[in-house]
């Protein structure tokens, strides 16, 4: 039986890890060189965050498990990341909206987790918040540029907001695992995060002249419970290619 804390670590780690995978996939495809470098920076920060949390998860699991074992050697249903971060790099508007939704979320989440009763979680949050601050400034600015740029960019960003909105439900879902960690003071109340998230996102959408979509209830089993979109299998096929093909090798 895996502990609630272990699951919590994986939900955070996998979300950063899979988002960094998507950003890694985008390297050399950016709209101009400066932006290519900047997106890669965000991706590198996210791997760093994931790594710290995988290390902690490995420690909790014990028995000589390493961070790489956890990052690379699980079944799809054992990955607990949000669906939002699995969404492909359809175009720069999708990349921007996906990132902005996650950056606002991480900003409020990590701000709260800096006071976690778990010292490792608190330390990871304190380290990450500095990076997330910069990520959020960057993605928010792009929301404005694209929303209030040209007609083409406005339509593209509006479309991406509409399409990705349904995946944001999951970010604030409070299941029993999460509730019991809130009681212990390890995790924080996601309903409070949701209020702050909504306010910040609505402010940015208004400033960017982008309409807030109607709420659509998401209909899949959440990623944080091991259910995934069709995109995930392809991500893991590439991610685990070498470790699956050469199970005895170390790299």
């Amino acid at each position: 039986m895996e502990s609630n804390l272990y699951k919590f670590c994986l939900r955070l780690a996998d979300t950063s890890f899979i988002l960094s995978y998507r950003l890694g996939e985008y390297v050399s495809h950016g709209p101009f060189l400066e932006e290519d470098l900047s997106i890669t920076n965000v991706g590198l920060d996210l791997i760093g965050q994931a790594e710290s949390l995988f290390k902690y998860a490995a420690e909790i699991k014990g028995g000589g498990t390493t961070d790489d074992d956890i990052a690379y050697k699980r079944e799809e249903s054992e990955y607990l990341n949000f669906h939002l971060v699995e969404y492909p790099n359809e175009d720069f508007a999708f990349i921007t909206v996906r990132q902005f939704f996650m950056d606002v979320y991480n900003y409020h989440l990590f701000t709260g987790l800096m006071n976690s009763s778990d010292p490792t979680i608190a330390a990871v949050a304190a380290k990450s918040i500095k990076e997330v601050n910069y990520h959020l400034k960057r993605s928010r600015k792009w929301m404005l540029r694209l929303g209030d740029g040209t007609e083409v960019s406005h339509n593209k960003i509006q479309y991406a907001v509409n399409e990705l909105w349904k995946y944001t439900d999951e970010l604030f879902d409070m299941d029993d695992v999460h509730k019991s960690l809130v009681e212990e003071g390890v995790a924080i109340d996601l309903k409070e995060v949701q209020e702050k998230w909504l306010k910040d996102v609505e402010d940015a959408l208004t400033e960017a002249t982008v309409a807030k979509p109607d709420h659509v209830k998401h209909s899949l089993v959440y990623g944080k419970n091991g259910g995934h979109t069709d995109f995930m299998g392809y991500i893991l096929t590439e991610l685990q290619y070498l470790t699956n093909r050469y199970p005895d090798a170390t790299w």
Partner: protein, 312 residues
Amino acid sequence: MEIAKNLEEFQAKIDAEIKIEPKDWMPEEYRQHLIRQMSQHAHSEVIGMQPEGNWITRSPSLRARKILMAKVQDEGGHGLYLYCATETLGVSREQLIKWLHEGKAKYASVFNYPSPTWADMGAIGWLVDGAAIVNQVSLQRTSYGPYSRAMVRICKEESFHQRQGYEVMASLMEGTAEQKKMAQEAFERWWWPSLMMFGPHDGDSPRSSNAMKWKIKRETNDDLRQQFIDKTIPQAELIGLKVPDANYKLLENGSYETSDIDWDEFWNVIKGNGPCNTQRIKHHAAAHDNGQWVREAAIAYNEKKEQNLKSA
């Protein structure tokens, strides 16, 4: 008269090892040579992101993933310094990219080879970056100030890449039989292309003479290539890799004699017939074209904001 005097002063500066700066007088041929060489260098860094970017999503460990992603990012950063340095010669980045897409500007031919295995990540870092360093260390003393300063910064990062690449190769050579085979094959794939990176023999290099006189270039292609060979063969032997050259031998002076390069292949890849020439340019052009609406949006947004400031 005026030009002759300018030219004399220009050469005197060069001879006295005084750097030429963007606002200084320079012969048009010097400027054109630099635009060609520096933009080719910038494009090489940027196109060079592709063969390694190819393996980012498949990196086999968290550490390897971070290193590779950071490395590819560094290459992009080098491209950026070099584009900026080239722009000091009065040509825009937009124009340089246009020439690249039209086939009027070149990039290092070595990036027209594919990277089919993880070991290629090691071989590229070790050999391609290793060869680039030999060339770039020499270019730190080039006569054009902005180019020379860009090289100083770039060299520091490249030496990291070279060590990281070698580390990948060394760890594969300590791994399973399959990993050793993977490393040996990647070494064989990249050995000759990395020797070709130094360009044709000095006698066959059409633009060498003025470049040497003006100290754009400080050492000849063959001298630089030999430095690389002498440095790299012992590194290969140390980790158990076999140099893919039946005739190589250590000479009494500590230098290595090697077989001649297959120059037909060299010229063929330069002419655009390498395995990945089309793919590399297509990839770059597609990213550039897909980014058009993003760049336009950013410009339109800035203009609106400036307009608002003025009318406020």
